[in-house]
């Protein structure tokens, strides 16, 4: 069926001679007003994010500055001993990470061959925003910020600047979902991949990462 016929049929059933072409007026759009007033202070946002993210099986490290961030990152590597790390090709992320991955095999997205990423153990990304209320990481992907970097490995580490944490999901949507200028893929990630399909018994890492670690830096 062609588009015109399809839309005409809908219009007829609704009781219009032809499909509407002007945006209809609306009494209400989006969330109720009381929810719009929900606003956490910057310190509360970190605390909430940590609580929620951890509550869903994620791990959070809160650090003060870049030096501490690098120490934390190097510590995770020493712990997990990855054979291969994949990372966004992103200038800011590189600056944050600095020399903390020295001695590791690190693949850069868009630089190293794509098929090698199917064997990375750890994926390192930045983020576009994080949501305190839900404990969510927001990853707008495109160009050097490849989707596979955080989807394929069993451990995902995301760098989060404290100022990137917003209170509500809607604020994050306003930042990354601008209708005409958004990335082709925006991913909202809340904790590790999970399933309860086997006798209601929860298990993680069924498709995506089994562990998600957020490193939150206060001075950013």
């Amino acid at each position: 069926m062609n588009k015109e016929a399809f839309l005409n049929r809908i219009a007829t059933q609704i009781g219009r001679p032809r499909p509407l072409t002007k945006a209809p007026s609306r009494d209400v759009v989006g969330i109720p007003d009381f929810w719009r007033e929900f606003n956490l202070s910057s310190d509360e946002r970190i605390v909430h994010f940590e609580e929620r993210f951890t509550g869903l099986g994620g791990e959070v490290r809160v650090v003060d500055d870049i030096a501490q961030l690098r120490t934390a990152l190097a510590g995770i590597m020493a712990d997990r001993k990855p054979e291969r790390i994949g990372m966004w090709n992103d200038a800011e992320l590189e600056q944050w990470v600095g020399n903390s991955l020295e001695g590791q095999t690190v693949l850069k997205w868009g630089v190293d061959p794509r098929d090698q990423f199917s064997s990375i153990n750890i994926g390192i990304t930045g983020c576009s925003a994080a949501v305190a209320d839900t404990g969510t990481l927001v990853l707008a992907c495109g160009g050097g910020r490849g989707r596979s970097v955080h989807l394929l490995p069993s451990i995902h580490i995301a760098m989060v600047g404290a100022s990137q944490i917003v209170t509500r999901l809607g604020e994050a949507l306003e930042r990354v979902a601008k209708p005409t200028e958004m990335d082709s893929y925006v991913h909202f990630v809340t904790g590790p991949s999970r399933s309860s399909d086997i006798e209601n018994d929860q298990t993680t890492g069924i498709h995506g990462p089994a562990a998600v670690i957020a490193i939150v830096m206060r001075q950013a």
Partner: protein, 481 residues
């Protein structure tokens, strides 16, 4: 699907399966309790529900505009949109894309619309391998069955059965341990994702203002399906739209809380067109197939159009005393539970599912649970009336209902009827299972072994059901503040 001629036959069979009943009840309880906690912690749930209802009602009332806007924006973002009047047209569109791509293998993430159009059969008939990648759907697919719950499809399978199915699918040295089973699924599916030519998903919401497709999952399978194969096909019901991202914030709060009691789903993926210039992954082509299949007929019916407001959360299933007793398969339709009892007869013209509106006690728990306030039980009453007006009371059905009412009214006769049935099944029972392919259970036993009628009779279970009914209405009285 062919599991007996009438919902009551199928229900009787389901009632004999103790594991099924226990599993369905346990899961439904768990989801219901979690939902209660999640909505309590959010607060002002009734205001959220009202907002959800307003948004859905506005969208559906202006579907002609929003669907047009959505399609234009998909095209602008580099995607391709097609419109299918019915299931067979939609299937043909999928097939045409598959053929054009010379695809041999397809990975799918959970989509009720794909079940609705029966795409797996169509593709398999065309020699294309189809793999369901949601863990529950994968289990159901290996068992050659259909989902028994919208959100948790394999609710009716225990871990021993799952282990056996996985072993048959090539798993070696598996145990019944969840981690081992999940590990097998991860390894198997990862390979499938990387090899597949085409990925098929449903669509939780289409955003009109941007042409985006929004998918909610917990496992992350939709992200593999949309990003690894070169071609992505989206199957969406024509009503599955929201005007703006601001509206998505409301649904992202309502849907996971109602479905599984989560504050938010683990993954919410927003796809706007295929990969762009400079992107190194993601599908290169995105095809969206918008399906009518009986939906637009409801728009003109003031009493039915709200059925299009449904966001497929499954909350109405979890509170339904009938669903809790008989599980999803007894409905014999793609969409089970209260919403299925309303949707199936309107998406399928004719009498095929005209019996489903009777698989309800009309207690109203479904309407109270619904996050977008659909008056489901009013619709069930209306559909019953409509059946009568259309003269749709087939002889067999009439008998069944008469028999049904009659039997419950006259306990003595019922006992006699049941005793006769039990004696009647005697010669057919082997090791507690009915294997014969004759008699009233034929449709069911053709597909699988039917458990023999339990020692506890349907009527005794009906007693349980009535007890549940009372508890449920008390409980929903408490939660519905």
């Amino acid at each position: 699907m062919n599991q007996g001629n009438h919902v009551l036959d199928r229900a009787r069979v389901a009632l004999g399966d103790d594991f099924l009943r226990a599993a369905v009840r346990f899961t439904a309880d768990r989801l219901r309790t979690k939902k209660y906690t999640a909505t309590e912690s959010l607060g002002r749930w009734e205001e959220w529900r009202s907002r959800g209802q307003q948004i859905r009602a506005h969208t559906v009332a202006h579907l002609d505009y929003y669907l047009g806007q959505f399609a234009d924006n998909v095209t602008r973002a580099g995607g391709n949109v097609q419109f299918a009047a019915d299931a067979s047209e939609a299937s043909q569109m999928v097939l045409d894309i598959i053929r054009a791509k010379q695809a041999r293998s397809v990975v799918k993430s959970k989509s009720m619309v794909s079940e609705e159009i029966g795409i797996n059969h169509v593709l398999e008939a065309a020699d294309v391998e189809v793999v369901e990648t949601d863990l529950g759907e994968y289990i159901v697919q290996l068992a050659k069955e259909t989902p028994s719950h919208i959100i948790i499809p394999a609710i009716h399978k225990n871990r021993q059965q799952i282990k056996d199915l996985f072993t048959e699918a090539g798993g070696e040295n598996l145990t019944t341990d969840t981690k081992t089973l999940a590990g097998f699924a991860r390894r198997t599916m990862r390979k499938k994702f990387l090899e597949a030519d085409v990925g098929i998903t449903g669509c939780n919401f289409g955003i009109a203002e941007s042409g985006s497709v929004v998918l909610f999952t917990n496992e992350g399978n939709a992200d593999m399906v949309t990003n690894l194969p070169q071609t992505h096909i989206v199957l969406m019901g024509m009503e599955r739209l929201l005007p703006t991202f601001a509206d998505l914030e409301v649904m992202a709060n309502l849907l996971p809380r109602s479905a599984t009691g989560q504050n938010i789903t683990t993954y919410m993926s927003v796809l706007t067109g295929p990969r762009r210039e400079g992107d190194h992954d993601g599908a290169r082509e995105m095809h969206i197939i918008v399906l009518d299949n009986g939906r637009s007929n409801q728009l003109a019916d003031a009493k039915m159009k709200e059925v299009l407001n449904c966001i497929r959360c499954g909350a109405c299933l979890n509170v339904c005393p009938v669903y809790r007793q008989i599980g999803g398969h007894a409905y014999g339709s793609v969409y089970p539970g209260p919403i299925g009892a309303v949707l199936s007869p309107v998406l399928n013209q004719g009498e095929q599912y005209a019996d489903l509106p009777y698989a309800s006690s009309l207690c109203g728990a479904c309407s109270e649970a619904c996050p977008v306030k659909i008056p489901i039980h009013d619709m069930l009453v209306y559909l019953r009336q409509r059946n009568v007006e259309r003269g749709w009371v087939k002889p067999a059905e009439r008998a069944a209902f008469k028999g049904f009412a009659f039997a419950f009214a006259k306990v003595g006769r019922y006992k006699l009827a049941m005793r006769t049935a039990r004696i009647g099944q005697g010669p057919l029972v082997r090791d507690g299972h009915i294997e014969a392919k004759i008699g009233p259970l034929r449709g069911w036993t053709e597909g699988r072994n039917a458990p023999a009628l339990a020692q506890q009779s349907f009527r005794e279970m009906w007693g349980l059901l009535e007890q549940e009914l009372k508890t449920t209405s008390r409980e929903s009285g408490r939660t519905g503040k």
